[in-house]
Amino acid sequence: MDLVKLVQDQYIEKKDMPDFNAGDTITVYYKIKEGNKERIQFFRGIVLQRRGSGATETFTIRKMSGNIGVERIFPVNLPSIDKIEVNKKGKVRRARIFYQRERTGKAARIKERRM
């Protein structure tokens, strides 16, 4: 019996989330605390990678804020995530699209995958 997995199953609450992969554009709504108040903020960008497995899996998303790239790493089961929206399915050939960091403007476009 894998005891590490047992601990993860017991103490990490699994989140229901849509299926997404590298290249997709998603919006993550997450709660932030300001003093006693809680409000919801969102972060919208392209998924660069999904990393790890099981309860401790994470994903990296990147957005352009003006002309500065901003990346955030979220654990999949982070309690403060409110919901995740998949805005666009991207057509990419790799599971980790770090080449996206060097691309700007027209070159940074990702083809949409039609279902």
């Binding site: 005891l3 047992l6 601990v7 309860a55 309690p79």
Partner: protein
């Protein structure tokens, strides 16, 4: 100090009540059996001896088998002496993980992973040269001077040099207990613990 013997299972990460992601080590702690009770009358001080880890009897010396037989407990692998149980436990009793409570701090002792023969930069944290030009041919990770010349005309004892690293008894202090699982005898502490997976560790308060 009350303590237990356990086995390092591995690392993971858990979220605390504020949503912070904490690095955690899972330890299978106990249950340990009491193999001897020492009292002031018989031994001059109060303590209990606890044992942990299943072991086949054919691998154990006769003297030890005798010791366990006298206590009426099965043969075990590791033995330590702990105190602070205040005559509450008797010979043959089981001490389990419920002596720890969530939120308190514990020390964990184990044998660190062997690193082999290592240089001073890794072994003692020397800075190295920090320059790759200006005459640094092959001195990037060299220790530098190890002392003066004709006086004292020897190298002082304990000089930090390259050598065998790791594989030594190491204690990590003040690790916070995050979860206690009595049912499965599991203890989850924040941070890392010395040793490889499945190695024995001692947890003390």
């Amino acid at each position: 100090m009350p303590g237990l013997i356990g086995k390092k299972i591995g690392m993971t990460s858990l979220f605390d009540e504020n949503g912070k992601n904490l690095p955690c080590t899972v330890i299978e702690a106990g249950p340990c059996v009491v193999s001897q009770v020492k009292t002031t009358e018989t031994d001059g001080y109060n303590a209990i001896q606890i044992a942990y880890g299943d072991r086949s009897e054919k691998n154990v010396a006769q003297q030890q088998i005798g010791h366990f037989k006298k206590a009426g407990v099965p043969v075990k692998h590791r033995i330590i002496e702990v105190d602070g149980f205040d005559n509450e436990v008797k010979l043959g009793d089981e001490v389990s993980v419920d002596i720890f409570i969530e939120g308190e701090f514990v020390d964990v002792t184990g044998t660190s992973k062997g690193k082999g023969f290592q240089g001073v930069v890794k072994r003692h944290g020397f800075g190295g040269v920090g320059q790759s030009t200006h005459g640094q041919h092959n001195r990037l990770r060299a220790p530098g001077s190890i002392g003066a010349g004709s006086d004292p005309s020897r190298v002082f004892k304990g000089m930090k040099m390259a050598g065998r690293m790791g594989g030594a008894r190491t204690m990590i202090e003040n690790l916070r207990v995050i979860k206690v699982d009595k049912e499965n005898n599991l203890l989850v502490v924040k941070g890392s613990v010395p040793g490889a997976k499945n190695s024995y560790v001692i947890i003390t308060k």
